[in-house]
């Protein structure tokens, strides 16, 4: 049995600044023994003071590192409702309660050479951590890391300098054509997919539902394995409430629903029934 006391951490905010409209980067001091995490894992975060929002909110770990002997975690997030709006009001020295790291992260297979990351908007959050991991923990073993990054508009394509250092190449797109390819990032991936070595490449994607669904289609069409990070509303984050269901593919399995927080949030696209929700 794990040491219970360690499973719920207090994070102390170092900074929580707006990068561009409604998008924030939170940098937190976490306990030194905050358990090592795998990219793609997430945390349930809650304001320590007050009772609002009532439930914790799930966020991917955007980065986790040591600095001046302290363990620091970064969360990249967007205001998308009441909970995130309240979290965005936190300032330096405010405290948050953190459950995590939680769930199943990305599984970077041994021996594969090409890592293809595909981020849609905030989907960059866990993929940045994955890129860091590939470079820092798996250096040498892996081949090139290519990042496809699509967003609404040019100023949504942020952190490019940090990303440039982590990845072999960046392929950018915007919905409004203000930077890079004019159109969905999945177009770029589909266009290049033929050139990926089927047995030597893995796709890792995160973004809005429509985009990861499209990635599932591309993965199937080109027979390239693809891992996606999936989102569903969560109450507990630890597998108890069954709130975060996603429908499993395949008819013969008795388990029709999988828990995003426990079996996921990272799934192989083939594990999921992509008609599980409307949009």
């Amino acid at each position: 049995m794990a040491d219970p006391e360690k499973s719920i951490a207090t994070g102390i905010i170092i900074s929580n600044r707006e990068i561009f409209k409604d998008h924030f980067l939170m940098i937190l001091r976490v306990p030194a023994d905050f358990r090592a995490s795998v990219p793609g894992q997430f945390v349930m975060l809650r304001r320590e003071e007050g009772d609002h929002p009532f439930l914790g909110r799930p966020f991917s770990i955007h980065s986790l590192y040591s600095m001046n002997g302290e363990t620091v975690m970064e969360i990249l997030y967007r205001i998308s409702g009441m909970g995130t709006a309240l979290i965005a009001r936190l300032t330096a020295d405010d405290r948050v309660t953190i459950l995590g790291p939680l769930g199943r992260g990305f599984d970077v297979p041994v021996g594969k050479k090409k890592i293809v990351l595909v981020a849609g908007g905030m989907g960059i959050a866990p993929l940045f951590y994955l890129a860091e991991y590939c470079l820092e923990e798996r250096r040498g073993e892996l081949g090139e890391t290519v990042l496809y990054f699509g967003a609404q508009s040019s100023h949504h394509l942020f952190g490019l300098d940090r990303l440039e250092r982590l990845c072999s190449s960046l392929k950018l797109s915007t919905d409004d054509g203000t930077f890079g390819y004019h159109g969905p990032v999945t177009d770029l991936v589909a266009g290049d997919a033929l050139s990926f070595e089927r047995n030597d490449s893995t796709l890792f994607a995160c973004g809005p539902y429509g985009m990861i669904k499209e990635m599932a289609r591309i993965a199937e069409k080109f027979s390239i394995p693809c891992q996606v990070s999936v989102e569903e509303k969560m109450a507990c984050g630890i597998g108890a409430c069954l709130g975060c269901a996603v429908r499993a593919s395949g008819e013969n399995t008795s388990k029709r629903f999988m828990r995003v927080c426990k079996e996921g949030p990272v799934f192989d696209t083939r594990e999921i029934d992509w008609n599980w929700r409307e949009g």
Binding site: M1, A2, P4, S7, I8, R46, D51, P53, F54, L55, G56, M82, G83, T97, L99, E232, K233, M234, A235, C236, G237, I238, G239, A240, C241, L242, G243, C244, A245, V246, R247, S254, R256, F257, K262, W276, R277
Partner: protein, 308 residues
């Protein structure tokens, strides 16, 4: 039995002795194992597991949950692994923990309830059954067992005949007169009554003009419903003589104490587990600290002491 603070916290629920009155509420604590990393399960009064049906159920499609003011709506539906998979895959873990296990059961017909009850009674390591009667009776056109005194009577009677385990019947609050249902299940032989299950609610996404939950309505739980739960417990305590277990919006020791003072013999902690996985442990400690401070040696001297 005395706890660390040498206060007597043990209570008796229809023959089942709990080391303290704090259990988990069904559907909010998985099958126990999900919380093992956060708390020492053996300190709990009892673990009530997610509702079990005769065959596995897949539950409702997402979205299944939505936060509301001081609460949440859920329409998980009755997703569960089924009673046999529970016994094979989940129960072995729980058997290793020194804690009473209460199985919450459900069905579409009286026969299904009885069958689940029977199967669980044969299994080793189940200490009591909790009958969730807020399920729709398919034979009666989907009307909830829990809103009709006769149906509530029948399912209770059936389960009592199918098992030797103590039978707790869990009531739904979506009724005009909770005491009528309570008396009916007491007459049918219930050993204890737990309440409340969730209140039915709705929440709408005004941007898309669709319900937040795919199932349209869901069950409201959390602190928002505590005053309703407490009122109903207080009503039922005075209407029946079997022990009553209070459930609904208990987040802190103070909340649990309100239920105990109102007359509940024990309490269940539900949604609080989501917000803080250590809630149950903190509540148990808080109750002991309160008794210490108030000089109450035995929890029996606290239960039902509301002055009105």
């Amino acid at each position: 039995m005395k706890d660390n603070n040498s206060r007597r916290l043990a209570v008796d629920i229809g023959g089942l002795v709990l080391k303290n009155p704090v259990m988990t509420a069904s559907g909010t604590f998985g099958y126990g194992e999900e919380y093992a990393a956060y708390i020492d399960l053996s300190v709990l009064g009892a673990i009530v597991v997610k509702g079990l049906s005769i065959t596995p159920r897949e539950g409702n499609p997402p979205s299944r949950i939505m936060e509301t003011a001081s609460g949440m709506l859920n329409a998980v539906g009755l997703e569960n692994v089924g009673v046999r998979a529970f016994i094979d895959e989940k129960l072995p873990f729980l058997r290793e923990v020194d804690v009473p296990v209460i199985a919450n059961i459900l069905g579409d017909t009286v026969e299904e309830y009885c069958e689940v009850a029977h199967i669980l009674s044969e299994a080793e390591g189940i200490h009591a059954l909790e009958v969730n009667i807020s399920c729709p009776n398919v034979a009666q056109g989907g009307i909830d067992f829990g809103v009709n005194p006769e149906l509530a009577f029948k399912v209770t009677e059936g389960v009592k005949n199918a098992t030797d385990l103590p039978v707790i019947v869990k009531l739904t609050p979506n009724v005009t007169d909770i005491t009528e249902i309570a008396k009916s299940v007491e007459d049918a032989g219930a050993d204890a009554i737990s309440l409340i299950n969730t209140l039915t609610g709705l929440s709408i996404d005004i941007e898309k003009r669709i319900p937040h939950l795919k199932n349209i309505t869901g069950g409201l739980s959390g602190p928002a419903i505590k005053p309703v739960a407490l009122r109903m417990v207080w009503e039922v305590v005075r209407a029946v003589s079997v022990p009553v277990i209070g459930v609904g919006g208990i987040m802190k020791a103070g909340d649990a104490l309100e239920f105990l003072v109102a007359g509940a013999r024990a309490v269940q902690v539900g949604t609080a587990n989501f917000v803080n996985p250590r809630s149950t442990v903190e509540i148990i400690k808080g109750i002991a600290a309160y008794m210490e401070r108030k000089g109450i040696d035995d929890i029996k001297d606290l239960i039902g002491t509301l002055k009105t």
